[in-house]
C-alpha cells in the first residue's frame, strides 16, 4: 500500500518523528479554514506518485482566500494518471539544512538497506549516479534492527556527525516502520534540520507490504479506501483478485504472474493491447474465475477476453467449470478465447467443448485469435 504524504506523516508521527503542523482538506473551504488556523501554508496535492511539484500540485499561499483558490485548482486535478482526492495544508519550515533519509528492500542483497545523505532535496537520484559515496548505507540485521553504534557510523560516514544524536534517534524511529508496519520503502526527503537543531520530516513516502495486510488491519481500514482511485482495481481488490488496469481493449485472465505478463506480451505482438492484467493465481476456483470475468466486463473498453490457464496447482476441470458457469451467469456476449492446459487438461477441455467454447492449444495462437475477433 503506497500511502499518501499526510498518511505517511501520521504514521511517522505515531513513531515519534516530528512533522510540521498540517491539516487535510477535502474541499476549498476546508483549505481556507486550515490556512486561517495555521497561517501561511503549502497546499499540497495528495497522490501516491512523485513529481507533483513539477506538475503544479503544490502552491505556497499567504492568505485563506489564496488557500481556497489553490485547493479549488488542485483538488480533482490529474497528476500522472491520479485524480487528486484531497490536499494537505502544511506550515512552512525554517530550513537550515536538508538531508535525505530512507530505506528500501535491496533485492540483490535480499535485505533492507538504510540510506542517509547530507545532499538531500530534489536531486538525490542524480547524487546516487554521480557521487554514490555521498550516500551512506547500512544493512541492518533484520532480527534485531540497527544497533546504536552502526547508526552513529552511518551518520558520521554521511558527514552529518554534528547532528549525530538527533539523527540517530530519528533513524531508529523510522526503522520501526519495518517491524511495526511491514514497510518496504520509507523516505524522508527532505529531512529538515532547523536552526535550533531540531529534525523534522519535510516530506514523507511510505509503502507497506500488501502481503502483510493481515497483520495491519487497522492501517488498511484507516488508509486503504482513499488510495483506490481506479474503480475496477478497487472492485477487483474487494474480490481478492490481483488486477491492474491497462489502457487496451483485450481483457486478460491468466494464472501466475509470469504467464499473465507473457500473455500481455503475446497480445501486443499479435497487434492488440491488453485492457488489464488479472492473475487468478494458484488454486483458482470457479468463483474466482467468475469474479475475474465479472470485473473485466465492467470495463466498457473491453472488446474481447483472452483466458490463458496452464495448470499446476490450478486444475483444468475446475477452471473450465468456472468459465462455463461465469459465461452463463454473466450472459457474456463478448468474444472469448480460452487456452487451457495442465493438470486435468483433458477433463477441462472436454467441459469447454460440451459447452460450446473451443479451447485453444498454444498461447500465441490464442492471442492472435482474440485480437482478430475483437477487431
Amino acid at each position: 500500500m503506497k500511502l499518501l504524504e499526510y498518511q505517511a506523516k501520521e504514521v511517522l508521527a505515531s513513531l515519534g518523528i516530528e512533522i510540521p503542523a498540517g491539516r487535510v482538506a477535502h474541499t476549498p473551504e476546508e483549505a481556507e479554514s486550515a490556512c486561517r488556523e495555521l497561517g501561511p501554508v503549502a497546499v499540497k496535492a495528495q497522490v501516491p506518485v512523485g513529481g507533483r511539484g513539477k506538475a503544479g500540485g503544490i502552491a505556497v499561499v499567504e492568505t485563506p482566500e489564496a488557500a481556497h483558490a489553490a485547493a479549488q485548482r488542485i483538488i480533482g486535478m490529474d497528476i500522472k494518471g491520479f485524480k487528486v482526492p484531497l490536499v494537505y495544508c502544511e506550515t512552512a519550515l525554517e530550513i537550515a539544512r536538508e538531508v535525505y533519509l530512507g530505506f528500501t528492500v535491496d533485492r540483490d542483497a535480499r535485505a533492507n538497506i538504510l540510506m542517509l545523505s547530507a545532499r538531500g532535496g530534489m536531486d538525490i537520484e542524480q547524487v546516487a549516479e554521480e557521487a554514490p559515496e555521498a550516500i551512506a548505507r547500512l544493512y541492518p540485521n533484520p532480527w534485531r534492527g540497527p544497533l546504536d553504534f552502526e547508526l552513529t557510523q552511518l551518520v558520521f560516514e554521511s558527514g552529518l556527525g554534528e547532528h549525530a544524536r538527533a539523527l540517530t534517534a530519528v533513524i531508529k524511529k523510522l526503522y520501526r516502520a519495518i517491524p511495526d508496519f511491514d514497510a518496504l520503502t520509507a523516505e524522508i526527503n527532505p529531512l529538515v534540520i532547523t536552526e535550533e537543531g531540531k529534525v523534522i520530516a519535510g516530506d514523507a513516502k511510505l509503502e507497506t507490504d500488501e502481503n502483510a495486510d493481515f497483520r495491519h488491519r487497522d492501517l488498511v481500514e484507516q488508509y486503504g479506501a482513499i488510495l483506490e482511485t481506479d474503480e475496477l482495481e478497487a472492485e477487483a481488490k474487494r474480490r481478492r483478485l490481483t488486477y491492474v488496469s491497462l489502457d487496451g481493449e483485450i481483457g486478460i485472465i491468466g494464472n501466475g504472474a509470469g504467464l499473465c505478463m507473457g500473455t500481455l506480451d503475446l497480445v501486443q505482438r499479435a497487434g492488440g493491447k491488453a485492457a488489464n492484467f488479472c492473475d487468478i493465481g494458484g488454486g483458482a476456483r470457479a468463483e474466482v474465475v467468475q469474479n475475474a470475468m465479472d470485473v473485466i466486463i465492467m470495463n466498457p473498453r473491453v472488446k474481447g477476453i483472452l483466458i490463458n490457464v496452464f495448470g499446476g496447482i490450478t486444475r483444468g476441470d475446475e477452471v473450465a467449470r468456472g468459465l462455463v458457469q461465469a459465461r452463463d451467469n454473466l450472459q457474456l456476449k463478448l468474444p472469448l478465447v480460452v487456452r487451457l492446459s495442465g493438470t486435468n487438461q483433458e477433463e477441462g477441455r472436454e467441459i469447454l467443448k460440451q459447452n460450446g467454447i473451443e479451447p485453444g492449444t498454444s498461447a500465441w495462437e490464442a492471442a492472435q485469435k482474440i485480437v482478430a475477433m475483437a477487431q
Binding site: T104, V105, R107, A111, P142, R215, G262, G342
Partner: protein, 288 residues
C-alpha cells in the same frame, strides 16, 4: 543425472492435510518420489492417505531420516516453516506458498546463513522436478520427459508451458527448477545455473526470467564468463507498464537494471540467445 533432487531424497510435506498439500503430496508419490511424512502441528500420530503425519519437523526427521521438504502451509506461517526445516537439518526446501510477507523472507534469508547446507527454492515457486525420478512441489509431471535440457524459471506456469513444448519437440529435461517470483527468494539464477554447469546430463539450458531485480543480469554475467551449456533466455513482462514509482530509494539501489530491455541486452551481450515468445525458446534450443 540431475541436480538438487535424486531418487534417494526422503521428502516431507509441511501442510500435508491442506487441500493443496494433500493433492500434490499424492501427485509427488505417483511420480515415485519418496514422501516419507507430513508435518501438521496437532495432527501428529495420524496418517494422511497412507503417509505418517508428525507434529514437528524435528520429530519427522528423527523418525524418517527426511532430508528434503515441500512447504504448502498458509502464508502467515510459511516463513516459520522454512526456518523450522532448516533448523532441523533439511537440506532441500521448496516453498510453494505464495503471499509471504517480504520482511518475513528477509529474516529467513538472514537465518539461513547459519545453515549453508540448506538450499531454499521459492517461496511462490512450483518447486522442482527431475523427470523419471521425482518432484517436490506442483510441477505437472505429465508434460515432462527425461533428457538434456535444464530449466530454471521465476514463473511457474511459463515453466510448464516451456517443458510441454520441449517434450512435444522431443527434447527431454534433466531437472526443472522454479526459483519463485517473489522479490526476496532463496536460490538465485546463478546458484542453479552453476549446478547445471557441473551436471554432465545437462547440455542445454532454458532461463525464464521476469522484469524486476537484477538476478537475470547476474546470470548473464556468469554465462558470459564462459559456459559449456547451450543456453536460451526468455524475459516475461516486456510490455508491462512501469510501476508508478513514488520515492527514489528503489532507483538509488537498482539504477536502470530490472527492465526487460536491460535483461535481454545483458543476455545478448553474454552470447545467450534471447527468445521473444515461449514457442521460440524451443525453436532456439533445438537449433543450438
Amino acid at each position: 543425472m540431475s541436480i538438487l533432487l535424486n531418487a534417494d531424497n526422503k521428502v516431507l510435506v509441511q501442510g500435508i492435510t491442506g487441500r493443496e498439500g494433500s493433492f500434490h503430496a499424492q501427485q509427488m508419490r505417483e511420480m515415485g518420489t519418496q514422501v516419507v511424512g507430513g508435518v501438521v502441528p496437532g495432527r501428529g500420530g495420524s496418517e494422511h492417505e497412507g503417509v505418517p503425519v508428525f507434529n514437528t519437523v524435528a520429530e519427522a526427521v528423527h523418525e524418517t531420516g527426511a532430508d528434503a521438504t515441500g512447504i504448502f502451509v498458509p502464508a502467515p506461517f510459511a516463513a516459520d516453516a522454512i526456518l523450522e526445516a532448516a533448523a532441523c537439518g533439511i537440506t532441500l526446501i521448496a516453498c510453494i506458498t505464495e503471499g509471504i510477507p517480504i520482511q518475513d523472507m528477509i529474516r529467513v534469508k538472514d537465518f539461513l546463513r547459519a545453515y549453508p547446507e540448506a538450499r531454499l527454492l521459492g517461496p511462490n515457486c512450483p518447486g522442482l522436478l527431475t523427470p523419471g525420478v521425482g518432484k517436490i512441489g506442483i510441477i505437472p509431471q505429465r508434460f515432462s520427459s527425461p533428457g538434456p535440457v535444464g530449466i530454471v524459471a521465476r514463473s511457474g506456469t511459463l515453466t510448464y508451458e516451456t517443458m510441454a513444448a520441449l517434450t512435444d519437440a522431443g527434447m527431454g529435461q534433466s531437472t526443472i527448477v522454479g526459483i519463485g517470483g517473489d522479490p526476496v527468494n532463496g536460490m538465485a539464477f546463478v546458484d542453479v545455473i552453476a549446478m547445471f554447469e557441473r551436471d554432465p546430463a545437462t547440455t542445454h539450458l532454458a532461463i525464464i526470467g521476469e522484469i524486476g531485480g537484477s538476478d537475470e543480469e547476474r546470470a548473464a554475467e556468469l554465462l558470459g564468463r564462459g559456459s559449456r551449456l547451450k543456453s536460451v533466455a526468455f524475459i516475461s513482462g516486456r510490455t508491462a507498464p512501469e510501476g508508478k514509482r513514488m520515492g527514489h530509494a528503489g532507483a538509488i539501489v537498482s539504477g536502470n537494471r530490472g527492465t526487460a530491455k536491460s535483461k535481454e541486452e545483458a543476455f545478448r551481450s553474454a552470447g545467450v540467445a534471447v527468445a521473444e515468445t515461449t514457442d521460440q525458446i524451443v525453436e532456439l534450443l533445438t537449433k543450438a
